[in-house]
Symmetry: C2
Subunit: 366 residues, 2 copies
C-alpha cells in the first residue's frame, strides 16, 4: 500500500454511486457498552442479520476485536469473512475508507481524519484513535493505495454521491464547529471536489431532528439513480422535522445536478417518532464527559438509512406502522433489487442505522 | 470460511512442496521482549530484510499487533501488506496454517493445536492462546476453508514434504512428551498422512544440537526437489552434532521416498558453533517459569533454515566464515533462483531462523 499525497481528482479517481456494482462491503462488530445495550449483546443479532442479507450478493468482511473474534465467527454465516481489527466503535460508514476508482479499474481509498463526530467540541466519545486508523489499515488489508486526507475531518455518512459528478451534504454537519472550523464553505467544497472527484456540491441545510452526527445527509436523503433522490418526509406540521425536510425539498427542487439535470424527488415517510425507554437506558454504560441517553429521548429514526447491495436494499424496520409503507416505496424505487427489512431498533439506539454500519467497495470494472 | 471436520486426504487435498509456486507468504512482526532483544528492536530490521527479499517474487502479508501497526507499516516496503492480528510471538512457520490444495486448484488450511513447543511439559512460553488462534484467523483472512486438527499438537516447522507423497520429521520432536504423549508413533504417522495427504513418513532421529523446538526437521534437513534433500553437516567428530547429522544421513541413505526413489543427499556445512554473548543476554526480558538464555550458551544455528520463494532462496548468514560456502552450495542446488543471504543473528537469538518466521501459501493451479 502506498500512501498518496496527491489529489484523487487530478489522478482521475472518483467515488462511484452506492447503486453501482460492488466488490464487497465492510462492517465492524458492535461491542462498546456506552453505544450498544448490554455490551453489544442487543445489537449483534441485528448486525448478523444485516451482514447475512448483504452477503447474499457481495462479499462481506466483518472487522472485530481480538476478544470477540470467536463470537463473531460463530454467529456469522460462513460466507462472511471475519478479520481482527481494533476499533473504538462500529461505524464502518464513517471511518472505513471512502473507495474510489478510475477508468482503468484501479481501486484506491481515501483516509479522512475521523474525530468522533466533533472532536473535543461536540464529539460523542474519546479517544477515537483506533477508529481513525481503520481507513489506512483497511486499504492495506485490501492491498490498495490510500489518499492521505488526514488534514480534513469527514465521515463517510456525511456525503452522498451519484457517481456522475454530484455530491450532497448538509451544512449542519460539514460546517459544524467540531470539524473544520478554520475552513470556509468554499474551501470545504474544494476538498470534496478534489477527494471525491465531483464537480458540484449541493448543500442541504439540515438532516434529521436530534441526529447526533450533526445531521449526516445519509439519514435524510439518498440517491436512487442519477438525477433521482429519495428524501425523508414528515407530514406533521407540528413536528420540528417538518420544516427541516421541507427545506431540503425546496433546495433540491430548485437545484440541478452536475450534468444540469433537475432532481426527481421521492418522499419517503418517517416512522412515528421513536423514543428510548427507561428499560433500554438501563442496558447502557455511562462514561463521564460523554452525552448520555435519557429515557423518553427521541431517536433519529429514518428509513433513508438503508444500504444498497448488489441485489438487495437492506433497510431498517422499527416495529412501526410505517415500516410496510416505507418498504413498499423502496420496492417501487428499486424494482431490480429485493428490499430486505431488518428489525433495527437496537442499531438505532447506538445512534445510527444500516447505512451507518456498512461501507461498500466498488466493483473493479476491469 | 467453513470449519471442516473431515480428513484432507479423503477429500483429495495435500500439502505441496515449498519449492512449488507460491501465491504468497505470511510473516509475523517480532515484539516479544523475552524472545527478541530490546523488545524486538534488534530483530525487526532482519524481519524487514526477509520480507523485502521475499516480496520481490510473491505477496508478503505481515501480521502485527495493534500497537505496532504504524511501525511495521513505516518500516516495510509498500508492496508488503500489513494486517493487524494478535499473536504471542512471531513464528509463522509454526502456527500459521499448513496450506493444502487439491487437483481442482482449491486452497484450504490445516489448524493444528499449537502449545509453544511442548505445553506445560517443556514449552517455551505461556500462554500460547493467541498463537494457537492464528491458523483459523488466517484462513478466514484468505477466505479459505480450514481443517480442524486441534486434537493434534504440531508445528509447521516439524514437517517437510516433497509434494509427491513423502514427509520427513524427527522423532525427537514428534515423539516428545510435551506434544501427543497419548498417541503411538503409528497413530502420529496416520495423522500426518491424513492431514498432509502423504503416503510415507520418514523418521529421522534428531535435528540440530540444542534446538529448543525439540529439534524441528526444518533446521536440519529440507527438500530441494523430489528425491533430493539437503542436510546440515558437521565435520568435527568431537562436536555432538556430528553423530546427529551422521545418523540422519544413514537413515536417508537407506530410505526411499513415497515413489520408491532413493534420496540424493547434499551436505550443507554448519556455521562454526555460535554462542550468545553476555551483551546479547542483557537485551532480553526474563519471565519466571520460562527457559532463560545464559551467556555462552550455544545457539541452534543452521543454514538449512532457509525459505524457498518463487524466484529466490532467502537464507541466513551469521557473519561466519562458512556463510559464503553455504551460499555457494545453495546457489548450485537452486540454479533458477537468486540466493539472498540475510544477517540473521538477531533472528537466531529468538530461537529459530528464516524458515521459522515464514509460511508459504501455494499458488492456485487453476
Amino acid at each position: 500500500m502506498n500512501i498518496l499525497k496527491t489529489k484523487p481528482k487530478n489522478d482521475g479517481f472518483y467515488m462511484p454511486a452506492e447503486f453501482a456494482p460492488h466488490e464487497g462491503c465492510i462492517m465492524i462488530w458492535p461491542e462498546r457498552g456506552d453505544s450498544w445495550q448490554y455490551g453489544g449483546f442487543a445489537a449483534r443479532e441485528a448486525f448478523v442479520e444485516v451482514a447475512t442479507a448483504i452477503s447474499k450478493s457481495e462479499q462481506v468482511t466483518m472487522c472485530v476485536s481480538y476478544e470477540q473474534y470467536d463470537t463473531a465467527r460463530r454467529m456469522l454465516p460462513s460466507q462472511v469473512r471475519v478479520v481482527e481489527m481494533s476499533s473504538n466503535d462500529a461505524w464502518a460508514r464513517d471511518y472505513a475508507p471512502t473507495f474510489l476508482v478510475n477508468q482503468e479499474g484501479v481501486l484506491r481509498g481515501v483516509d479522512w481524519y475521523f474525530n468522533a463526530w466533533g472532536g473535543l467540541v461536540d464529539g460523542l466519545y474519546f479517544p477515537w484513535d483506533k477508529d481513525n486508523q481503520m481507513a489506512k489499515k483497511l486499504c492495506d488489508l485490501y492491498n490498495v493505495d490510500v489518499y492521505d486526507a488526514s488534514d480534513f475531518v469527514l465521515e463517510g455518512g456525511s456525503i452522498h454521491v451519484d457517481g456522475e459528478g454530484t455530491c450532497i451534504v448538509t451544512e449542519a454537519c460539514l460546517l459544524s464547529a467540531g470539524r473544520n472550523p478554520d475552513l470556509s464553505k468554499e474551501e470545504i467544497e474544494e476538498k470534496l471536489k478534489d477527494y471525491l472527484g465531483v464537480e458540484k456540491v449541493i448543500w442541504l441545510k439540515s438532516g434529521i431532528y436530534q441526529d447526533e452526527t450533526n445531521e449526516h445527509v445519509d439519514n435524510i436523503c439518498a440517491f436512487v439513480a442519477p438525477g433521482e433522490v429519495v428524501l425523508a418526509w414528515c407530514e406533521d406540521e407540528n413536528d420540528p422535522q417538518y420544516e427541516m425536510s421541507k427545506n431540503c425539498y425546496d433546495i433540491l427542487s430548485k437545484e440541478t445536478d452536475a450534468k444540469g439535470r433537475p432532481f426527481t424527488i421521492h418522499k419517503l415517510p418517517l416512522p412515528t417518532p421513536i423514543k428510548i425507554t427507561e428499560e433500554e437506558c438501563k442496558g447502557l454504560l455511562y462514561m463521564d464527559g460523554e452525552p448520555t441517553r435519557t429515557p423518553g429521548e427521541r431517536l433519529a429514526a429514518s428509513y433513508i438509512n438503508f444500504y444498497i447491495a448488489n441485489k438487495s436494499v437492506v433497510m431498517p424496520g422499527f416495529g412501526d406502522k410505517m415500516d410496510e409503507v416505507a418498504k413498499k416505496k423502496l420496492e417501487a424505487l428499486f424494482p431490480d433489487r429485493e428490499v430486505v427489512q431488518i428489525p433495527a431498533r437496537n442499531i438505532l439506539i447506538g445512534g445510527g442505522n444500516i447505512h451507518c454500519i456498512t461501507q461498500q467497495i466498488p466493483k473493479l470494472h476491469k
